[in-house]
């Protein structure tokens, strides 16, 4: 057993961090956020009308760096790595608050590579074929996330070429145009994540096309469930990155901000807030990484729970450490909090994760080592 990162994994992480810092520095994040109509959460519309649109240039660079093709076989033009490496890359994206439907495009790239009808997923033309290279932007519609009235929120729909639709058991690809025709823009709480509300009843495949479910119930069910789990884990990895980043931000502020004649980081109340943040982040890290290794549904549910909690609560504590400064639009703290809220609503809710883990307690243990 050696749970530590390998040298290659360290290098991958460093490379990804360097890529994010170079190609998506803070100025670029602020440009996305501040361009957004000057309105923010409380202002006009914004979503889907250019504001918060996916930066195609950046998307291609991510593709060139292997972000989407990370897990494709080298023979298929991929990097040939696994879920642990993908998790490291997504952690860095979360750390940088990189916007866009990263998980959906990453998963769609995997589907495309195997080619229709392998794995039972039909490919809607070139859109998904370009996912691995970052030529296509693929977002996702998870019908299991349907709320009151059966509607679902879809991120970055206006920027997307295709939509990965996860049905009850089957999965499929539809064009963004198709889905967009019935969608309505929503004033997103996160200025960097435009959202559309899509009415219920969307099927994974357009009439006449085959969705993965039609290959046979077993495989179909497995495909959608597996994609949902992987998406949940990759999203948890982004939450982890955000949680780690807000600890650093809080600590940096606490060292610099002087009140009552000393750095506020010398006050136990602030010290202990920061310490609790680190505990949350490191705890989340251990389960997210382990779930990437085991791919076990229970481990993934644990990763979702603890990473969501770490991202949301760390962002709030970071805001508290920043005091009034943290309440301003100019500070980045709120961007972490809002994105963490968005991600926490995706793929698997806390309630579902807790029920999954509770059910797991009934099957006999032996979950160790």
């Amino acid at each position: 057993m050696d749970f530590s990162l390998t040298e290659d994994q360290r290098a991958l992480r460093a490379g990804m961090r360097e890529l994010m810092e170079r190609r998506f520095p803070r100025a670029r994040l602020r440009a996305v956020v501040d361009a957004e109509g000057g309105g923010g959460a409380a202002a006009g519309e914004g979503a889907g009308t250019g504001a918060g649109a996916v930066d195609r240039g950046l998307w291609r660079e991510l593709g060139a760096a292997g972000f989407f093709a990370l897990r494709l076989p080298e023979a298929a033009g991929g990097v040939g790595l696994g879920l642990p490496e993908a998790v490291l890359a997504f952690e860095e994206a979360g750390r940088a608050l990189l916007p866009g439907p990263l998980a959906a495009t990453h998963l769609a790239a995997g589907l495309a590579a195997t080619g229709a009808p392998v794995a039972g997923v039909p490919v809607a033309g070139a859109a998904v074929a370009g996912a691995a290279e970052g030529e296509a932007v693929v977002t996702a519609l998870d019908t299991a996330g349907a709320g009151h009235g059966g509607a679902v929120l879809v991120e970055h729909l206006a920027s997307a070429d295709a939509v990965l639709v996860l049905g009850d058991g089957d999965a499929g690809i539809r064009t963004a145009k198709e889905i967009g025709s019935s969608a309505e823009a929503v004033r997103s709480v996160d200025p960097a994540t435009p959202l559309h509300r899509v009415p219920g009843g969307v099927a994974p495949a357009a009439a006449g096309e085959r969705s993965s479910g039609e290959q046979g119930a077993g495989a179909g069910r497995g495909t959608a469930a597996r994609l949902r789990r992987e998406a949940a884990l990759l999203t948890a990895a982004q939450q982890l990155g955000s949680a780690v980043r807000t600890v650093e931000t809080a600590v940096a502020h606490a060292r610099e901000r002087v009140q009552f004649g000393r750095a506020i980081g010398a006050f136990q109340a602030v010290q202990h807030l920061c310490a609790s943040m680190l505990v949350r982040a490191e705890t989340a890290r251990s389960v997210v990484y382990a779930a990437a290794v085991t791919e076990d549904p229970g481990d993934i549910a644990a990763a979702v729970l603890l990473a969501d909690e770490a991202a949301v609560r760390n962002a709030r504590d970071c805001l508290q450490v920043h005091g009034g400064m943290g309440f301003t639009w100019e500070a980045d703290v709120h961007l972490h909090l809002k994105r963490a809220w968005v991600r926490a609503e995706q793929w698997q809710t806390a309630a579902a994760a807790e029920e999954e883990l509770a059910a797991g307690l009934m099957s006999t243990g032996a979950r160790c080592l």
Binding site: A42, S188, L195, Q259, A269, G323, G324, T328, H334, V342
Partner: protein, 387 residues
Amino acid sequence: MDLSCTEDEEDFRHRLRAWLRRVLPALPPRPDPADWPARRAYDCGWQRMLHDAGYAGLHWPREAGGKGATPTQHLIFLEETERAGAPYVGANFVGLLHAGPTIAAEGTAGQRARWLPPILRGDEVWCQGFSEPEAGSDLAALRTRAVRDGDDYVVSGSKIWTSHAEVADWCELLVRTAPVTPDTPRHRGISWLALPMDAPGVTVRPLRTLAGTAEFAEVFLDEVRVPVANRVGAENDGWRVTMVTLSFERGTAFVGEVVACRRVLESLARTARANGRWDDPVLRRRLGRLAADCTALWRLTQWNVSEAQRTGGVPGVGGSVFKLRFSQVRQELYDAAAEVLGADALDAGREWVVDRLSSLSYTIAAGTSQIQRNIVAERILGLPKGR
């Protein structure tokens, strides 16, 4: 332990209700939140109506032009206006609740005559210039300097978190009139000035919050001349002048907000029932617990008001206990709202979503929860001075 109203109190409540029933339907439509002049006009119009009906300065002493009402009457006033959906105090907040009472307590007869009546009539709007970028929790670290030059002070510096600055006539300003030295503690050397907001050298810049709105502003002061006659209290005595009002509280500071909490909670329950989430016992019990918390906030308010009535005023430290609980409950309430909304909590067009963002300031503004706990520990519990 009497929670019933006296005959006088009932009478006051019924007359107020009758008046509200009469006037509220005739009010103009609420202004766009981003239109500051319209907001000012609306708020001042409401204040003028209160004035004409005899409700202006209800809690101010009679000598200052107020009605000298008891804390309970003030509580009833705030409760009934909130429940009736009457306008909030808005632009008149600082004038009615801080600058005015400070002038009433510490100003000269001339200052009172000049500044108090326009506040009560809704003719003049005040804003507050206390906090600075480097002086937040540690207000006494303020650096805005005022240098005496003849009959004027020349003031330079900057202030932050100033509401209604765009439309205010006056700013109650704390400035440093003597430098901090080893012999001069930081709380000395501060003076209280009434700054005319149209004075040359005053620049107001809206400050956008994380909720996306610009409810606050920064105020930059570049060699602004303020007449010495605008100083309330003695030179270098401004800290005491300010704290007299800040630390004197009659338990009524959050009455409207507490009433609103209950209303939001009931509305959440109805929404949950409509969208089916009410069937989830985890959520339902969470709302039940919040009902207990809201009840407690109301009872704590009644307790503090009664104590204020009995003793002539609650020291500000008593309010720290309330504020700690209130801030926490208010944030939990909006977290529960997000739970009720589900994914729709990401839609800023939905009710409560922007309120949820705004509620993030509760544990920070007007004394962070950390500072409040220090106050409780040291001033109420008598623990040794920390840090």
